[in-house]
């Protein structure tokens, strides 16, 4: 019922995640939900979990990750999930989210490193790998051309740190090991 009442639609769009075709990252306006691992969803979304259309979710500051059951595909159920998610976002009080900074940071850091930042570093002959995430601190290893590169501090602060912080403001720091 509430699903059809899209009085003012919530601004959102899906983006693919490089590592897994079954995950979509739904970009939503910041401030609706607190980041963390959801333990309870509002009815429209809870139904999809009960039907085992969806199987997992994490909440970023301005995105929600949804994992689809492996036997389903997004082109088939995408529109239905979008409607449900839109409805669920219009009732933020129906969500229960456990704080899990490091789990979120792990996903964000991995995406940034595998994404555009990693490509830039790769194009300069370097390589970057995520070592670990703990207490909002990200440990990376910079190898290849990076190991003797004078711009290493610049890359850490202005590319990796900045990109991760844009999506996860609780980031403490990024350290190269």
């Amino acid at each position: 019922m509430s699903a059809s009442q899209t009085v003012s639609a919530i601004a959102m769009h899906p983006e693919q995640v490089l590592t897994d075709p079954h995950v979509l990252r739904w970009v939503v306006p910041p401030g609706i939900l607190e980041p963390g691992l959801p333990t309870r969803f509002p009815a429209p979304l809870a139904e999809l979990f009960a039907e085992q259309v969806l199987r997992a979710s994490i909440v970023e500051e301005s995105a929600i990750w949804l994992w689809l059951s492996p036997e389903l595909s997004w082109p088939v159920v995408g529109a239905r999930v979008r409607t449900a998610l839109s409805a669920a976002l219009s009732q933020p009080e129906g969500w229960q989210i456990e704080r899990a900074d490091d789990a979120i940071l792990q996903q964000v850091a991995l995406e940034v490193i595998c994404g555009p930042v990693g490509e830039v570093i790769g194009s300069h002959g370097g390589a970057v790998e995520l070592v670990s995430v703990k207490d909002n601190t990200v440990l990376v290893s910079l190898t290849g051309a990076c190991s003797s590169c004078p711009a290493i501090e610049f890359t850490l602060r202005n590319r990796i740190d900045q990109e991760i912080r844009r999506r996860h403001s609780r980031l403490d720091r990024v350290v190269a090991v």
Partner: protein, 649 residues
């Protein structure tokens, strides 16, 4: 029914079959056609889509090692299929479209400075599920005006390839070509954008935010000027002042140049009279070529100036404001702004104006505008007006500080504009069944100094078109007229039998003219035009101007040159009424000139326009209605003008 002959007939035999096809889709003014030209190297093949009167542009582009076919679809803001243009775009993108083969890939051309609006169209294209990529144009403009876009992030958010491309930039065009070559591997969005309007708008907002889109600033200087120029009162006052200065300029600046050209033709006429000893050839060259065709060519400076001024107004960004101002007036008359754009195009020529009605979504508005467009003062009327106004008032007559000739010309343009808008309003009122006006987008570009190159290009093509018209349709009609005016030939005995003094050259040529085929035609239609003060010589001018309005000038030039080859201009102003109650009085009295001006303002004397009306409406019914109602209007207006001016004069 043997297999060999079962090839589908009527298909183009050029080798576009089997090649990959791409369709270009985009908003009007998105740079789509420029990009199309840049990709296809201007080797476009034009035609029509079957069943609808929308032009089809197809071209071939060379990728790395293969040719592909590009189809430039009409500019559109949505795929809602309400106008004929949109209907074509929808049909082409449909899997089993009727009027064109489905393309292998779609290139959506998106203007980076108006990204939000373009995304609505992109969403609709993506819902069609064809392989799609985005060509992002005007990124240089966006940056210059303080806007910003992260193309990488935009690609991620949309889920399709985005290529920034400025049509003039060779590197970027090559980049797009490489993308086209890989169309089989183009990424597709996992989920098509939502269809609901509110959800689509929300989707677009989200995509723009993710791409860090910053809209370009509207220039501070532009907004200060617009505060005045778009003001309902001041803006309208400025608009009329600009138009007024416009027509003063046409007379004041072009007159001396026209004088020089007339001098050249007078010299040519004298030389021809002296050098050519064969009588009929001398008459042909002197009357038909120099008097007739030359008589039209002397108006080249005015035509050039008209288009220079239009190009300057357009290039500076003022014309779009004028359209915006007039849109408010039009809306009151129940017409939408797009109709005004069509009427505005008719200032050059009614034909592009009629073509511009293709963007009108409602068939009724389209017809209403088509019925009105030929009333707008087109550039073909300009030589006729200038000739007639020149006969009416002297070059230096003034009304206060204002050149009187320029003032009358301005009045003629106002009459044309008012007549066209009233006709459109009436026509749409008759046919409209309470339909509402659809929303209308109009670009309001920032003010800028007009580019010399585009001004020159506009004037060059207009002057070229004028010269081409003069050397084809006007020359042909003039030659036919020369034959009609000089035949049948009469023997001396025949003339003497009618009491003509065959030793007087003037008497002979006057008799020949008065007994020519042309005179018979002119006299045959005399009952219709007699109440307007026209004699057979004017009538033959009116009949021949059905081919093109300028022929009227050529005809009068010919008749005058036949009467007095030395000074045709003088002969024209001294022409006398040949018979009837006013015999011996000047033919071109103020009353007759006023009637002629009114007749030309309203009558549909242009067969090309009739032909285009026939093609665009698909039947002879509407051109017949247009011709009929405009003739009636012209006759009545000319009659009133003749009587009113006659009473005062």
């Amino acid at each position: 029914m043997s297999g060999q002959h079962c090839e589908p007939s009527g298909r183009s035999t050029t080798d576009t079959r089997g090649l990959d096809r791409f369709a270009l889709v985009g908003n009007p003014n998105s740079g789509k056609s420029t990009l199309f030209n840049s990709l296809s190297g201007l080797r476009a093949k034009t035609g029509n889509y079957p069943g609808v009167t929308v032009a089809k542009y197809e071209g071939r582009a060379r990728l790395a090692d293969d040719f592909v076919v590009l189809e430039d679809l009409p500019g559109t803001y949505s795929l809602d299929a309400i106008s004929p243009d949109e209907h074509v775009v929808v049909d082409v993108l449909e899997a089993n479209g009727e009027i064109s083969a489905t393309p292998d890939g779609v290139i959506v051309v998106v203007d980076a400075t108006t990204l939000r609006r373009s995304l609505t169209l992109l969403a609709q294209v993506l819902q069609r599920g064809l392989p799609t990529c985005v060509a992002l144009t005007f990124t240089d403009d966006l940056q210059r005006r303080g806007g910003r876009i992260d193309i990488h992030a935009l690609t991620n958010a949309l889920g399709v390839s985005v290529v920034a491309v400025t049509p003039g930039d060779r590197g970027q065009v090559t980049n797009l070509k490489q993308t086209l070559a890989r169309w089989r591997d183009w990424p597709a969005p996992v989920i098509a954008p939502p269809t609901d309007a509110a959800e689509t708008a929300a989707w677009a907002s989200s995509v723009l935010a993710a791409a860090n889109y910053v809209e370009p600033d509207s220039d501070a200087r532009t907004s200060r000027i617009d505060a005045v120029l778009l003001h309902p009162v001041w803006g309208t006052a400025v608009f009329f002042a600009v138009m007024f200065a416009f027509f003063q300029t046409i007379f004041v600046v072009a007159a001396p140049i026209q004088g020089w050209i007339e001098g050249i033709f007078a010299w040519l006429g004298e030389a021809a009279a002296q050098l050519i000893s064969i009588d009929w050839l001398a008459s042909f060259v002197g009357e038909a070529l120099i008097g007739g065709v030359g008589g039209v060519l002397v108006f080249l400076p005015q035509i050039a100036l008209l288009f220079i001024l239009i190009a300057l107004l357009e290039g500076s960004g003022y014309l779009a404001r004028a359209a915006f101002l007039m849109d408010r007036v039009m809306a009151k008359a129940g017409l939408e702004g797009r109709a005004f754009v069509a009427l505005l195009s008719s200032v050059a020529c009614a034909i592009p104006g009629i073509m511009a009605t293709r963007s009108l979504p409602s068939a009724r508005d389209r017809l209403a505008t088509m019925m009105a467009a030929p009333l707008v003062t087109c550039s073909a009327r300009l030589p006729v007006y200038i000739l007639l106004i020149g006969l009416l008032v002297g070059p230096d007559e003034r009304y206060g500080p204002v050149n009187l000739r320029g003032l009358i010309l301005f009045a003629m343009y106002v009459i044309g504009a008012v007549a066209a808008m009233s006709a459109a309003a009436v026509a749409s009122k008759i046919s409209r069944a309470g339909g509402r006006l659809l929303p209308f987008y109009m670009e309001i570009p920032p003010y800028q100094v007009p580019r010399a190159r585009s001004v020159v290009a506009a004037v060059w093509s207009a002057v070229g078109a004028f010269v081409k018209k003069v050397s084809s349709i006007i020359l042909t009609t003039t030659i036919i007229l020369w034959l009609l005016l000089n035949f049948p030939q009469h023997t001396d005995a025949e003339m003497q039998a009618h009491g003509v003094d065959t030793s007087s050259e003037v008497a002979v040529s006057s008799y020949a003219l008065d007994n020519s085929f042309a005179a018979s035609i002119g006299k045959a239609v005399e009952p219709v035009f007699e109440p307007l003060g026209f004699d057979w010589r004017i009538n033959i001018g009116l009949v021949s101007s059905l081919a093109a309005r300028e022929v009227f000038v050529a005809t009068l030039g010919q008749v005058a040159a036949a009467e007095n080859p030395e000074e045709p201009a003088l002969a024209l102003s001294q022409m006398k009424v040949l018979d009837g109650p006013n015999e011996g009085e000047p033919l071109f009295s103020p009353a007759t000139i006023a009637a002629l001006l009114m007749f030309f303002a309203f009558a549909l004397q242009c067969m090309s326009t009739v032909g285009v009306l026939r093609r665009e409406t698909g039947s002879w019914r509407w051109p017949a209605i247009a011709f009929g109602y405009m003739f009636a209007l012209a006759w009545v207006a000319a009659f009133i003008a003749n009587r009113v001016v006659g009473a005062f004069g």
